[in-house]
């Protein structure tokens, strides 16, 4: 019997899908043990509890907005109170901070990039995806342990929500050294990739910002929205609202044409649910081909020109 504590991320006032996915992962290893979800901060949503036995909340004026140190201390306090065998966090911006921080605060081992989890005896064993998913590593750690789970690795738990139970714990949230002085909402530019039916996504292979215009006519012929992978966004070639992936948007269009995207795990998690995925990359081993329905190994510029011509012929 394994007791599991999962960290449910709250962003923009709502509990993120990763919480329900972690609930599925947790139930898979609990074996009759208790599965608790934890929401830290003001946005504790009562509907966020499918698949768990208890939805615990920790709230305080100091947790009104995100402060990595304050949230890590709150998570550590919950860990002390609940005494779980396994703590599951998502491979998200919050999990990136709080999973390793909890490990640091409570001397726990931590496993990253997990896609599958099992508990064998007194150890947790995870199937992980290092090297951008090019290798699968089986990693194990003595319980109790922290495991970071890739978004999309588990289906979201369904079922009735459970009652919220406030954890009233003595918390020292003073002197965290961090003050969240501004909360920035997504720019309302009218771009909403979540509802786009057709998406052309450019990756690092596009080379530079100017080259993105090479796809203009093809996108026009396909009536497709333009998107980019993380390196394209980070380089400033496209604005943030056009990012697909873990730190961008999760999409599910009818057509996803991927041009020069290698397919890092955080990207695949954001688009692998598309109905039809066509991927073009010069590297035949690019992980994008694992999720693509059709793959082409060639220069993306040659392909764009050729396909554009075919579509113009129709």
């Amino acid at each position: 019997m394994v007791n599991v504590l999962i960290l449910a991320d709250v962003l923009g006032g709502s509990v993120q899908p990763i919480g329900a996915e972690l609930a599925t992962a947790a139930r898979g290893i609990a074996g009759g043990g208790r599965v608790d979800a934890l929401v830290i901060g003001h946005a504790a949503g009562a509907e966020a509890g499918p698949g768990v036995d208890r939805l615990l909340t920790i709230d305080s004026p100091d947790l009104a907005v995100y402060d990595p140190v304050a949230f890590a201390r709150a998570l550590a306090a919950a860990f002390d109170a609940v005494k779980p065998d396994v703590v599951l966090v998502g491979y998200t911006s919050f999990g990136l901070d709080l999973g390793p921080a909890l490990a640091g605060l409570r001397n726990l081992p931590v496993i990253g990039y997990s896609r599958g989890i099992d508990v064998v005896g007194d150890k947790v064993q995870a199937t992980t995806a290092p090297y951008a998913g090019r290798i699968e590593a089986t990693v194990s750690a003595q319980l109790p342990a922290v495991v970071s789970v890739m978004p999309g690795a588990f289906a979201a738990a369904e079922g009735e929500a459970v009652a919220v139970e406030a954890l009233l714990l003595p918390l020292d949230l003073s002197d965290t050294g961090i003050q969240n002085i501004q909360q920035i909402e997504p720019a309302s530019t009218g771009v909403d990739l979540t509802i786009a039916e057709r998406i052309v996504c450019v990756g690092r292979g596009i080379g530079d910002a100017d080259s993105i215009s090479v796809t203009d006519d093809l996108r026009s012929a396909l009536a497709a929205e333009l998107a980019g992978s993380r390196p394209v966004i980070d380089a400033g070639w496209l604005p943030k609202e056009r990012q697909v992936g873990k730190s961008g948007t999760r999409v599910k269009p009818k057509l996803y044409l991927s041009l020069g995207v290698s397919g890092a795990p955080e990207h695949l998690e954001g688009m692998s649910g598309a109905d039809l995925i066509v991927a073009v990359n010069t590297d035949p081993k690019a992980p994008i081909f694992e999720v693509a329905h059709y793959g082409v190994v060639c220069d993306l510029f040659d392909f764009v020109e050729a396909l554009e011509t075919r579509l113009a012929d129709t």
């Binding site: 923009g12 993120q16 995100y66 990595p68 140190v69 890590a72 998200t92 911006s93 990136l96 901070d97 999973g99 390793p100 921080a101 490990a103 640091g104 001397n107 081992p109 496993i111 990253g112 990039y113 992980t128 290092p130 090297y131 090019r134 290798i135 699968e136 590593a137 089986t138 990693v139 194990s140 750690a141 342990a145 965290t176 050294g177 961090i178 003050q179 002085i181 909360q183 920035i184 720019a187 730190s247 961008g248 948007t249 995925i277 035949p284 081909f289 694992e290 999720v291 693509a292 059709y294 793959g295 082409v296 060639c298 220069d299 392909f303 050729a306 396909l307 075919r310 579509l311 129709t314």
Partner: protein, 254 residues
Amino acid sequence: MRILAVLRLLPDLTGDIDIADDGADIDREWIDLKLNEFDDHALEEALAIRDAVGGEVTAVAFDGHGVDRMLKTAIARGADGAVVLTHDRPPPMTASDMAAALADLATAEGADLVLTGVLTTEDVFGHLAPLLGARMGWPFASAISGVEMGEGYLDARQEHAGGYANILRVQLPAVLGIQTASRAPRYVSGSKLRDAMKEKIPQRDAGTAGGWPVATIDALAEPAARGGGEMLGEDAEAAADKVAAILRDQGVVG
């Protein structure tokens, strides 16, 4: 202002990644290594901060193949110094072991700020910045995409999903995991690189392992195919014919 920029070499994923005979690590014999792209940004952010408010940037790396040249390149790019931490741990080194050695170094050097990349592709043992911050009792934050310095503090932009972001006012000393620097990482001229190659990089013992419980790699395997689809070849013209037909068949185009 004393800044440590922690740099890590990683397998170049444009090349083949093979599994070593013992099955517990990748085959590092012939592998191409490159600077972790996020560490590249961390170094650039460190240099940008130093340029803005003064101080010193020290590039830090754990010993290994190619590290000496990487650190010399960091000096050519503008770092004021570098140090290589010697150790006998097998790769990939755990974030806990790194944090233990870096905590000692940061204390010994009187560092005000430690910058490193938000993640590496090898982070099956967790990510370094929050682990180091928690160990040291310093404020920490990951996924930072730009820093502005104040007096005794910095304002860091932390990226979240879907375009959400926070500006965190972080008191020094602190640890940040950098996702993107405020400016593009700079290239280095050949003459500066040649000069830097003459430098001798000082060494420091990374010390013994932290003694904290860590995870272990049991085995590596080629990933099971996730049902990869049909490959349409390497000829752009022929593939475009096929894709156009598929799009018509599926009603995507008329």
